[in-house]
């Protein structure tokens, strides 16, 4: 196991703010605090080479978990081990083995060419010269950085910057990569490139990846496993398929037909919407298998085309939140 989290808990104390001059002065002497539970006994394990999506609404405890796992925050109780080390103890030795990318922040030197930041990171991480040259070359190739590696960071597009950011976090060959919203604000093409790269990194290099995101396409295209967190607790942990099933195992059938009857009555299937020469049907495969449904439909309609799909992940997540009332 690369990551073992065992009953991690964290409570924040936030000073209460009150309006008014008198209260302002009072708060300088004595402060009242409000307690906010960020994590409540959170446990999970992540194996080597997994690519895990870690999702939840804002304030659910995502970034608190990531902070604990990456060693910059100490939990109030519980323990975690990453690569057999306790992250928040002996920070300097631990962080050598991980890479972190924050989608909204930069670690690159704003006014200088990208390559200068890389050179600095080489010294910060004490990367051996040979390893650095090799890794740099590889990352430049994989992420296609060649054309702007000597351009000052401030002149790069958002997508180019994110690609450099990824490379910067990987120069020291970490075995775990934490990605915090890596595709936020990127154009469609850059998003695809970033996803492609993450996938490749995971598959070919065996790097364990933990990805937090609000972009459900990221999850859909990248993650085999999804951990959903809400109000500081794990709500669901498993494959994307089992997450879908948990909420509802209904699937959707889209039927284009040339002609047919207007009435619709098949057990286990409900008509969601009717468009011109098109039916959108949700059905429960436990009651009626896709094959039986299609057979049933073909007796009533002259079918032109059929498409069966899973409900979009956004809906699944929204439904899950709804169900658990977060």
């Amino acid at each position: 196991m690369d990551i073992v989290a065992n009953e991690l808990s964290k409570v924040y104390k936030i000073p209460k703010r009150k309006a008014g001059i008198m209260n302002g002065l009072k708060s300088m002497v004595h402060r009242e605090y409000e307690e906010i539970v960020a994590l409540n006994k959170v446990s999970f394990e992540i194996g080597k080479g997994e690519l895990v999506g870690y999702i939840g609404p804002n304030g659910a405890g995502k970034s608190t978990s990531i902070k604990i796992l990456s060693g910059i925050l100490t939990p109030d109780s519980g323990e975690c081990k990453v690569l057999d080390k306790i992250p928040y103890k002996d920070r300097i030795n631990y962080v050598k083995n991980i890479g972190v990318v924050f989608g909204q922040r930069t670690q690159l030197w704003w006014d200088l060419p990208v390559i200068d930041s890389f050179e600095l990171l080489k010294d910060i991480y004490k990367i051996r010269f040979g390893d650095y040259v090799k890794m740099k070359k590889e990352l430049i190739k994989w992420l296609n950085l060649e054309s702007f590696i000597n351009t000052p960071v401030r002149q790069l597009s958002l997508g180019q910057k994110m690609r450099c950011e990824l490379a910067a976090s990987l120069l020291h060959s970490p075995s775990i990569l934490f990605l915090d919203e890596p595709t936020i604000g990127l154009d469609a093409i850059s998003k695809l490139a970033v996803r492609e790269f993450i996938k490749k990194l995971n598959k070919e290099r065996g790097v364990t990846v933990i990805l937090t995101t609000h972009d459900m396409d990221d999850i859909e295209t990248l993650c085999d496993r999804v951990i959903v967190i809400g109000k500081g607790e794990i709500l669901s942990d498993g494959s994307l398929k089992s997450l879908r099933n948990r909420v509802s195992n209904e699937r959707r059938l889209i039927l284009d037909f040339e002609q047919g009857k207007n009435t619709f009555s098949i057990e286990g299937a409900t008509l969601v919407r009717e468009e011109k020469n098109r039916l959108i049907i949700d059905f429960n495969p436990d009651i009626i298998t896709p094959a039986n449904l299609i057979t049933a439909l073909s007796t009533k309609y002259k079918i032109k085309d059929i498409l069966i799909e899973n409900p979009p992940i956004e809906e699944v997540i929204a439904q899950l939140y709804e169900e658990l009332k977060i």
Binding site: K10, D111, I124, K126
Partner: protein, 266 residues
């Protein structure tokens, strides 16, 4: 050794990136030079009017002034990362620093080195050189060492104050400005020999924030004056070390601050 190499790398990048805006850099440096010069003009005016300040002549006062400003300009240059540390915490970039396998102090120092403080430095140096040339002091090896020690000690003392100020931002950002005023007020106060102040204020400058130790005692020794405060004469020789000790202590308090940050995640 390795850390020193890394620090120089940081330094190189700082200089390269600040030289990207050459016009701004030159203007700022000249600006800093002239500002402190105009400041000094104010002291000149007072000596013109009053002749002396409690037994100190204008060139003698200039020696105090030069030491403080050179020391503070060095501090401003190399501890800029700590000076603006509250911003680093606010935008969350301190997390990035924690994610790297190096000490926080090294990374923060490296993160920002302000070369344009060379303006204040140059002005302090001009005043110091003028004072040294004007004063009738026989510059022995010991006295020269004392002068340099005083500047270095002063630099470390101011740096310690800046580190403490940065440490405070782990707890409260709002009170920073108040502490800031004490740092700058301290520079203002240390421009003059502390013997001119009332005893309560002098005691603060000796025992609480030992600003006085950085220039008063060494300069008294250099000038060969008898100290009107009756402190022993070896004070001049040990006081530069106070600055250094103060700095080391500040770094210890800084560590407590970092620990607080990683345990509360403010």
């Amino acid at each position: 050794m390795d850390s020193i190499k890394l620090y120089f790398k940081y330094l190189k990048l700082n200089i390269e990136s600040q030289l990207q805006y050459k016009a701004s850099f030159i203007m700022m440096s000249i600006g800093h030079f002239l500002i402190t010069f105009i400041d000094f003009l104010g002291i000149w005016v007072l000596f013109q009017r009053f002749g002396s300040l409690k037994g100190f002549t204008f060139p003698e006062a200039a020696l105090f002034y030069g030491i403080v400003h050179i020391a503070f300009s060095i501090t401003e240059a190399w501890t800029r990362g700590f000076d603006t540390f509250h911003k680093l915490v606010r935008i969350g970039d301190f997390d990035r620093i924690l994610l790297r396998p190096r000490t926080t102090v090294l990374q923060i120092l490296g993160h920002d080195f302000q070369i344009m403080r060379v303006g204040r430095f140059a002005q302090g140096l001009v005043v110091l050189i003028w004072a040294v040339k004007t004063l009738n002091v026989k510059w022995t090896f010991g006295k020269t060492l004392l002068l340099i020690g005083s500047i270095i000690g002063g630099n470390f003392l101011f740096s310690g104050l800046i580190v403490l100020q940065a440490t405070l931002s782990f707890w409260s950002v709002q009170s920073l400005e108040i502490v800031n005023s004490f740092t700058y007020g301290g520079v203002e106060a240390a421009q003059y020999p502390i013997s001119i102040y009332k005893s309560w204020f002098r005691k603060i400058l000796i025992y609480v924030i030992p600003l006085a130790t950085i220039n008063y005692f060494p300069v008294i020794s250099i000038l060969g004056k008898t100290d009107s405060l009756n402190y022993p004469s070896w004070m001049g020789w040990v006081s530069p070390f106070f600055g250094f000790i103060f700095f080391i202590l500040s770094l210890q308090i800084w560590k407590i601050g970092v620990k607080h940050y990683t345990s509360t995640g403010s």
